[in-house]
Amino acid sequence: MAALKLTLGAALVVVLINVVLGTATAWVLVRDDFRGKALVNAVIDLPFALPTIVAGLTLLTLYGPTSPIGMNVAFTRTAIVLALCFVTLPFVIRTVQPVLHELDVEMEEAARSLGAGQLAVFRRIVLPNLLPGILSGAVLALARALGEIGAVVLISGNRPFSTEVASVFVLNRIESGDNVGAAAVAIVLLVAAFVLLLAIGAVRFYVTRHERG
């Protein structure tokens, strides 16, 4: 129970971080221009390509006990959030980017010429257009964060009731021969995955409502 609560809490925090910073990053990658932008754009996909256990080790190296910048968060909940941020990084960025690319700047210019401030333009024009992209990215990130194990297992310390996430809990239960306990938590994760898949389907259905007529 503690493991599930921890996982859900951490996953929600991570999704929130992704929604804000992921959207900001997508914005920078589409609208801004600077040296090395192509490289940054390429690096975004790294968490998809890199084995998660390697991701965990990299984070442990920089933010663990031997941290060269003196920032040791290993075996705390902060570490869990950090690890989940790493593996979910591309989702929101990659779903928002194409939408932002297609979005016509003229709409925003028109609004501005009619006297709308920065905030009004963002809230009433940009955000409504980006929302489906942000939502589907957020759901994908949530699904991934709930089930992640490789990136978390090395840096979280896996202390029961404190830093043991649901997937690690399942693994530990299996290894100590408690199949029932493992299955109970696994079922919750399974149901969550189904629900999130349905949610992604629903977002897709909503986005294509005009095409379907």
Binding site: V28, D32, F34, A42, L46, L62, P68, G150, L190
Partner: protein, 264 residues
């Protein structure tokens, strides 16, 4: 202008903290004590064996999932049948589900008291804690990638060319090899690359079903964990570096593909 630079700093700072900083650190730490410990770890027979297990499982999973992915994509885009929506949704399941849950289901199914496990053991085949289980886990988690890439390409392609070929007397087989496959080949290649990356990096499902017996059923990713838990930092970094190098190759392919798409 100030706002724009501020946002750029926030976005790049975030990437630096989460992505680039940690990665640079691993490269630095790997070679901190020179090349000798790296070489020693990589030439350890158990490490070599771990890489062999990973590569072998990948070599089974990738062709299997490529064939299955292309077939599924063709069925979903071109055919009408009952349960098509269900297939379309379920093919994504391995993306949404925790790998540990995948591992647990295999564990319960192929364990001594599982539905299939008893039968296999009766015929003298050890599935769980042996190579077959590693392959099963790897195949399961890497199912969706080829289909996910091929489906949109097939949708855009339409089937006029194939119909034209059919009216000219081409058999179904000829139409597939001469028209469909060449048109979707980039999507297939991209899907294969993503599948390979997933297979090489699989950890959660394999951790449950492999039994992680050193030199026997340990994969490369499990080897990394093993080294970390035994405080052999150099070994962990060395194996990680090999896996990270493979990831960079994947990344290059992903970037090439995006550049191609933007050029079209």
């Amino acid at each position: 202008m100030g706002r724009r630079v501020g946002l750029r700093a926030v976005a790049l700072g975030y990437l630096l903290i989460i992505l680039l900083g940690p990665l640079a650190m691993v490269f630095y730490r790997t070679f901190q004590d020179g090349l000798h410990p790296v070489w020693q770890a990589l030439s350890d027979p158990n490490t070599v064996h771990a890489f062999e297990v990973t590569l072998l499982a990948t070599a089974v999973a990738v062709p299997l999932n490529t064939g299955f992915g292309v077939l599924c994509a063709l069925a979903i885009v071109r055919r009408r049948f009952r349960g098509k929506g269900l297939l379309n949704a379920f093919i994504d399941l391995p993306l949404a589900i925790s790998p540990v849950v995948v591992g647990l289901s295999l564990y319960l199914l192929y364990g001594r008291t599982g539905w299939f496990g008893g039968w296999f053991l009766g015929h003298g085949i050890q599935v769980l804690f042996a190579f077959p289980a590693i392959v099963l886990a790897t195949v399961f988690v890497s199912v969706p990638f080829v289909a996910r890439e091929v489906i949109p390409t097939l949708r855009e392609l339409g089937n006029e060319q194939e119909q034209a070929a059919a009216t000219l007397g081409a058999t179904r087989w000829q139409r597939f090899w001469r028209i469909t496959l060449p048109s979707i080949r980039w999507a297939v290649i991209y899907g294969v690359v993503l599948t390979t990356a997933r297979c090489l990096g699989e950890y959660g499902a394999v951790a449950v079903v492999s039994g992680r017996i050193e030199g026997k059923t340990e994969t490369a990713t499990l080897r990394v964990e093993d080294y970390v838990l035994n405080f052999n930092q150099a070994g962990a970094y060395a194996v990680s570096l090999v896996l990270a190098a493979l990831a960079v190759v994947v990344l290059v392919v992903m970037t090439l593909r995006r550049t191609r798409e933007e050029a079209v």
